[in-house]
Structures are given as C-alpha cells and as structure tokens.
C-alpha cells in the first residue's frame, strides 16, 4: 500500500503565501474606537499631550536611526516606530505609580515614562548621562523612580519578573498594578505560560500585553504560533481582550477599563494589542519576509498621523499649533543629540560600579 510520499514541510514560506495575487496580512486590525476623547474622560490637553508624546517617540527614533547609520553609536537598535499608540494610550490609562516592564523595543516606553530625550539619546550613545548611565544601551532603558522597570533582552525573560512586580504589589497591598509588555514572538516562550498559570492561581494584579506587530524578527505570526494569540488566555481561565493598537484612544479606552478592573478585583488579564512595526526588526534587517504592499497598507493607519488628524478634525488644534509642537519636538530631539555627543563617556572606574547594592566583590580584581 504505497502512500504518496510528500516532503515534510514545517514552516511554509510567508510572502509567497498570497492568494490570487492578494497578500495575506500578518495581523488583522480590529476596528478603532469611535468615541470622542471627551466621552472617554480625556481633556483637550490630554490628547494634545498624547500627540506630543507620540510625535516625540517618532522623531526621537527617526533621528536615532540616522545617528546609528552615521556610526555615532553601536549595538542593537530596535525601533518602536508604528507602535507608539500602545505606549501612549497605556500610560494615560495607568496610574503614575503602576508598574511597566517591557522587552528591548523600549525607547517609546522610556520616553512616555519620564526619560527625557536627552537621557534617552545619551543612553543610546553609551554616555554617562544616559538613563542607565550608559550601562544598558538601547535595550535597557529604565526609570524605576517612575515605575518603568526597564527593557529586557531575553525574549520572554522579563515576563516572570512582571509577574513578580505584581506579586509584590499584592503582598504590599499598595493598590498598584503591574503591566508587562512583550512581542508576539515571546508568546511561544514557556516563561509566559508558567507565569500566566501562577498569576491566575494567585490572583496577581498584572496585565500581560502582547504587542502583536505581525512579526517575530522575520517570522510572521501565523508561521510561529498556532491559533489566535489572545485565546491562549482561555487555557488559564484568564480574562482577555484583543484590540486595535494603531489608535491611541482605542488603547486608552481598553487599557483604562482593564487597569481599573485589575486594580479592583486583583485578577490578571491577558491582552493582545494588534499593531505594526514599520521598520526592520533591528537595523540590520533587509525585510525580505514581508511585501511592500503590506507595509504601505499599514502606513495608511499610521498612529501618529491619525491622532494629528484627529486633533484637527475635532478642532482641538489648528495646523499652526501642531506645527509649533512639531518644531519644538524637533528642537528637543536635536538638542538631545548635541547633549549626547557632548556628554562624557563613563569613567573607566564606572566599569565596576552598579554591580552590587551591598558590599562589592570582584573575584581576582587587582
């Protein structure tokens, strides 16, 4: 009984997977909210500030990219461009003392949680004046004073730590919740599943948020994980949601409800926010795994353009007001570059600083 022999295929190629010349998008965006900011409880000033923060993240990274290409600094550089509505909507939804922890795509998160353009740029340049004293670089922005616990470089590694921040909040009964952001690639790590199980079992006040930007490096979501991501929550009996991450107001609306609920009943939430990364995974990515059409399609939903247009449509600002904000930010970012260039590198002795909170010990150090 001869069977038809077929070559085993494990991960079919992404791009060529198109149907009748129509490309298959890596993520489907759920509809954005139709509510006005005022209905959502946001003032005009709030949305203006949202726009300002989003534009800051965008220009900060566009300039950082130029500086990287000019060889001003080395290391990895993962850009958040396209995903700024997620960080921005979230910080407005959270209390200022709620915890945030994320992966290495962290510049946007730092900028919305109190890291100045100067401190951020100086960190990229590896300068002593950087937010992490030049010890962390692009992947390890942090501002723990404002409850931003940092960016982490091991995919999935910071997820249990996010659970631990929530554990501490519950232990201390301090009314704070913790939010833990990671990419769709991290969904495949065991650390997530171990932490989700314990979070549900122990009723930890934590929101796990997948920023599904369509790709884990060059692997489209459908090629690296089964089913719908948010449905993973069902296996743990965890509350879950999935919404549009290309619109700051939508992120705000949903995250606010979720944060309030988690704070109220101390039960975890699993959230999939659908978004899109406009740039390569890092600076050395030729992006052969996706089509130009797909990128262009998502660029039509640019979150920064969207909120800019919203401000005009709702007569919150006029074109000239917006240009003024944009010019100010441009200056702020250029100033940050000057600051980073002029800042001193860490002193050689700094090599041995910040290892220990208690008595330092370095084996065989002369």
């Amino acid at each position: 009984m001869a069977k038809n022999k077929q070559e085993a295929v494990f991960t079919p190629i992404g791009q060529n997977h198109s149907k009748n010349g129509k490309f298959e998008k890596s993520v489907d965006l759920p509809p954005a909210t139709r509510k006005k900011h005022t209905t959502l409880g946001l003032s005009d000033d709030d949305v203006v500030e949202m726009f300002r923060l989003m534009y800051l993240q965008r220009r900060f990274e566009e300039r950082a990219m130029q500086m990287y290409q000019k060889g001003k600094f080395g290391g990895f550089l993962h850009l958040y461009i396209g995903q700024e509505a997620v960080s921005t909507g979230t910080v407005f939804a959270l209390n200022d003392d709620d915890d945030i922890i994320t992966a290495y795509r962290d510049h946007g998160w730092g900028l919305v949680r109190g890291i100045s353009a100067r401190e951020g740029m100086a960190e990229l340049f590896g300068k002593a004046t950087g937010c992490s004293k030049g010890k962390g670089g692009s992947m390890h922005f942090a501002n723990t004073e404002q409850h931003f616990w940092g960016g982490y470089g091991i995919v999935g590694g910071h997820i249990p730590i996010g659970g631990g921040l929530a554990f501490a909040n519950k232990y201390l009964d301090n009314g704070q919740i913790s939010t833990c952001f990671f990419g769709d690639g991290a969904v495949d790590q065991g650390s997530l599943h171990e932490t989700m199980n314990m979070a549900q079992l122990w009723k930890l006040p934590v929101v796990f948020v997948v920023e599904n930007n369509g790709y884990s490096m060059g692997t489209a979501v459908k090629r690296h994980t089964v089913g719908e991501i948010y449905e993973r929550a069902k296996g743990y009996g965890m509350k879950h949601a999935c919404f549009n991450g290309m619109d700051a107001l939508t992120v705000y609306e949903n995250m606010k409800e979720i944060a309030d609920e988690v704070r109220e009943d101390s039960e975890p939430y699993f959230v999939e926010i659908r978004t899109y990364r406009y740039r390569g995974h890092s600076m050395s990515d030729p992006q052969k795994y996706r089509t130009k059409e797909e990128l262009e399609e998502f660029q039509k939903t640019d979150p920064v353009e969207r909120i800019r247009q919203y401000l005009l449509d709702k007569d919150v600002l006029e074109e000239s007001d917006i240009e003024e904000i944009e010019n100010k930010i441009e200056e702020e970012v250029l100033d940050a570059i000057d600051y980073a260039e002029e800042s001193p590198s860490p002193e050689p002795e700094e090599l041995y600083e910040d290892m220990f909170a208690g008595t330092p010990y370095f084996h065989d150090k002369k």
Binding site: S132, W149, F167, Y171, M355, A357, Y361
Partner: protein
C-alpha cells in the same frame, strides 16, 4: 551551644529572619502544606500563614522570575529549589536576570533574593539529580555562592544571605539535612559571607573542601593523622567570594595543597583555587597542587560505579600522599 540538625539550623535562620523582617517570604515546591520536601520549612506555614509561605507549581523558571520581580520592588524572597539540579530550568532568571538587572539598569534596581536548596549528588539518583552547581554559578559576576558543611555555618550564613542586598545562591545537601552539630545560641548569630574557616589545624598539608566534601576530607584527615600526617583543613564555606587569603596563608605554612571539589574537573573551584595558589604561593610549594573531583562523566546509577565516581576519603589520602611524596 545547642545541638541541632542541619535542617533545624536552616529553619531557625529562616524563622528568625521572617520574624525580624515582614518583607521576607519563602516560596517553592512543597514548602508549605507538605512542610518542605526535606522538612526544612516544617512549621513555618502554621506560624506565618499562606501569604509568606507559598507552595508553587513545578515552574522553576516562572517562580524564580516572580521572585526576582518581587525583590526588585523591595521584598526579600527565599526561593527554595527541590534541588539545584532543577534550578537549571531557572538559569535564565538566575544568570540573565538576578545577576544582571542592577548593572544593566545603571544601578536603578537591586535584587535581594536567596535561591536555596540541595546541591550535588545524594546517592544513586542517576545522571540528572547528581550535579554540583556551585562553581558554575560562581562563574557569574554578581552572584554569591554559599555551600556550608555544618549546621553552625549554615545558620549564620543563611541569615547573612537573607539580609544580603544582592542575589545569593545557598546550597545544601540532601544527605546532610539530618547531620547534627553544635550551633551557636548567640542572639542574632551572623557569619559574614566570604570568610572561610580553618576546621582542623596541621602543618603538613592544606586540604580545601566545602559542603559534603568537607566530611569526606574530615575522615581522610583523621586517617592521615594516624599515619603521622597532620592536615590543615580549610572549609571556605562560601565559594564566592572565595577566601583565597586564608588558603594562601595556610599553604605558605604547609607548602602542599590538595583541593577536593564535588564538581566535575573542568573550570571548577579546584581549577580556580589551584591557579590562584600557584600564582600567589609559587615559591612556597614543595609539590604541584593536586585535586580530587568527580570524573568528567555523568553520574551512574549502579552502586559500584557510583562509588568509583564520587570522591572518597581514599582518593583524598592518595592525593595527600602524592603531594607529600609518600606514594
């Protein structure tokens, strides 16, 4: 002095620190209702309740990371592993996170956490339950590694570990939990991390051993004394920081040294201490430093093979005979 079992000394240390500081809590597999896989935590659930004595699922990676996050927010977790052989699943949290978070965030957070549990072999448990991990973790900057051999050391050092502002790995042995020994009754008995102890004085040879191997060496030293060889036995107690000064001083007196290490030979404590001794005491050595370690092979099950595999007093005596040219 009170005579306590090793596990009782550990329990007293945990109990005293939990009573002293509300931020201290303990979590791990079977630590609460079951009273501890090796009964170290017996009675603690009754005393401190479910908030501070926490049974975890079998998720070493997950609960270690929850510990790290909790420590970053100011709690002082004691994370118990059923053995360090299983902590390998948590290596990402210990090595990539606990030891590095502070540095990579430029000092903006600290991780005062203790990871503890039995280390190394415990009889014929086969290849996956028999590995000594002290030197492996000692490799990484930022981690302290403690592997005490007697109840008194265990108590004083565990209290120090719990108070440490930085991550500590505290290693025990399944085979030593019942071991009895005198323990100081001093109020708030603390032994500083990083200080070795001369446990037997002698002029003829220095023998270094910690943890379970200390007891093998003790036996060997008694045997050697009958043959007129007086060994000086140093128990470093902490693998990192390693008390090299104490060792060098002793070697300068005895001019000979044997290091006994329960790990495999490549890159272990014996290799590191041996290197430092040749560099710091070259002119004092009357013989090349010798080491007794596990062979570079997995732990076997069969009794006869296991006995060949694990260092014993005879191997120690052989090594001493080599450095004293009595072979």
């Amino acid at each position: 002095m009170a005579v306590l079992q090793f596990r009782e000394a550990l329990r007293d240390a945990i109990d005293e620190e939990m009573a002293r500081d509300e931020m201290v809590f303990i979590m791990g597999e079977e630590v609460a209702e079951y009273n501890g896989a090796y009964k170290v935590t017996e009675g603690l659930l009754d005393k401190y309740g479910f908030k501070r004595v926490i049974d975890t699922p079998i998720s070493e990676l997950g609960f270690s990371g929850i510990g790290v996050g909790a420590a970053m927010k100011g709690l002082r977790p004691i994370v118990e592993f059923m053995t360090f052989n299983f902590a390998v699943l948590a290596a990402d949290q210990i090595i990539n996170h606990a030891s590095k978070v502070r540095y990579m965030l430029g000092g903006q957070a600290s991780v005062p956490i203790v990871f503890r549990g039995p280390n190394a072999s415990a009889g014929q448990l086969g290849a996956t339950h028999s590995v000594a991990y002290d030197s492996m973790y000692a490799h990484f900057p930022g981690l302290s590694v403690i592997y005490p051999s007697e109840p008194d050391d265990a108590k004083g050092l565990l209290k120090s570990a719990i108070r440490s502002e930085d991550p500590v790995l505290f290693m025990e042995s399944e085979q030593m939990y019942g071991l009895k020994g005198e323990v100081s009754e001093e109020d708030d008995y603390i032994i500083p991390i990083g200080k070795g102890k001369i446990k037997r004085e002698g002029d003829d040879v220095t023998i270094i051993a910690s943890g379970k191997m200390y007891h093998v060496v003790k036996q060997a030293a008694e045997q050697l004394a009958k043959d007129g060889v007086e060994a000086e036995v140093i128990d470093p107690r902490t693998i990192k920081p390693f008390d090299i000064e104490m060792v060098i001083e002793s070697v300068k007196k005895t001019n000979r040294c044997v290091i006994v290490d329960e790990a495999h030979p490549f890159g272990g404590v014996a290799a590191e201490a041996g290197f430092l001794i040749q560099r710091e005491a070259f002119d004092y050595l009357d013989a090349p430093v010798q080491r007794v370690t596990l062979p570079d092979v997995c732990a076997p099950f069969a009794k006869n093979l296991f006995d060949i595999w694990l260092p014993d007093a005879k191997q120690v005596i052989d090594a001493v005979n080599t450095v004293t040219y009595r072979n």
